[in-house]
Amino acid sequence: MKLQTSNSKLQTANFQFQNKACDGPLEFEIGSLELNIVAFCCHYCAYAAADLAGSLRIQYPASVKVVKIPCTGDLDVSSVLEAFEYGADGVMVAGCLEGDCHYQLGNFNAKRRVNYVKTMLRQIRFEPDRVRMFNMSSAMGRKWAEAVTEMDETVRRLGPSRLREKETKETKETRELVQEAI
């Protein structure tokens, strides 16, 4: 119960910050308020798509942190859980379009593993929507930006992960300083 109260506070603070942040091009880490989405991207498609989005200067939420893997078929469920355990608010698994995996069926295997992670998250009563699989080709820079935006919206709606470390005195001070500055 306690956790939830502090959560909703965090969430409110987070929204306030977001609203203010919209007014100016502020880009910095402010401890527990910044959302963190880890994206496991396959080398051949999703990673290339993210790269393309960058070259095309397409805007997408800065909450995403990309981890390159050779193929989503190489995804290890323990890596996804590790991300959540260490406080990630969301995890994206992004691979090639179905039928286009450079290792034939890696992305179909990944899809099953993502579903498996969802069942595990359900068992610990943690929102399964925080993990999701995406498919795109290397030419789909815009699709990458859309995917990240969608995921960012989902995670923002769910609020920060309840598994995050609680705010410490130091991070609280930093946050308050930043908020004052805004």
Binding site: L3, S78, L81, F84, E85, Q123, I124, R125, R162, L163
Partner: protein
């Protein structure tokens, strides 16, 4: 190999109760290859338990250790200190591993994280099937290498029964009739004459009916001092 699967998380949490410190012990042999209780699975379960503790309460201090083989005491000596520090030891070994841990460390509270299912093999990645029931008196030489004890639902010695239809067992449409398999195999090998002999009733004393089983090999036992 011994095939096992993980218990539901709720049940595991129930077994752990309020113990603050939990040691998850994986096993590097059978349960590693059936993806139920190896180092990776111990890590995943540890991670889930820690997250679950943060979300809903439960043991917070969960650590993992994996031994090469949980069913031999020598391997268990490597985790002596870790076991001593834990309030509950959650074994991811098969039933033998759990008991080996409990015997080696009489003061430790050891609970199982797996359900030990059967002795079998993987027929494809992610699918395991039963092949032997350890009856203690192997008949495979008479049945073309197909076990009628583990694979015939009625453990018939002179099958098939009347329920065999189109190669499937009457117990379930997905179960191959073991006696159909035996017949087909012996026919293909030109050894159908083996089926002309009636097998006598099986002596089950070598199996579960004779109490706990034991094998003693005097040639292998070490001579004790004074003998």
């Amino acid at each position: 190999m011994i095939v096992a699967e993980q218990k539901p998380l709720e049940e595991i949490k129930g077994l752990l109760g309020d113990a603050p410190r939990v040691l998850v012990v994986g096993c590097g042999t059978c349960v590693t290859v059936c993806f139920a209780g190896g180092e990776k699975e111990a890590g995943i379960l540890g991670s889930l338990l820690r997250m679950s503790a943060k979300l809903d309460g439960g043991p917070k201090d969960v650590t993992e250790a994996t031994v090469q083989r949980q069913c031999e005491w020598e391997y268990l000596d490597t985790i002596r200190d870790r076991v001593a520090e834990a309030d509950v030891v959650l074994s991811l070994g098969c039933g033998v591993g759990v008991q080996a841990l409990a015997e080696r460390y009489p003061n430790a509270v050891v609970v199982p994280g797996l359900n030990t299912a059967f002795m079998g093999l993987p027929i494809e990645q992610g699918v395991w099937v039963e092949r032997c029931a350890a009856c203690g008196n192997c008949l495979l030489g008479l049945t073309g290498g197909i076990c009628p004890i583990a694979r015939c639902s009625k453990q018939l010695l002179n099958g098939p029964c009347g329920g065999s239809s189109n190669g499937k067992c009457e117990v379930g449409p997905e179960i191959d009739c073991a006696w159909q398999l035996i017949y087909d195999k012996l026919k293909a090998q030109g050894r159908l004459h083996l089926l002309m002999d009636i097998n006598p009733p099986k002596d089950w004393r070598t199996s579960r009916d004779g109490g706990p089983r034991k094998i003693v090999r005097e040639d292998l036992r070490l001579v004790k001092e004074g003998n």
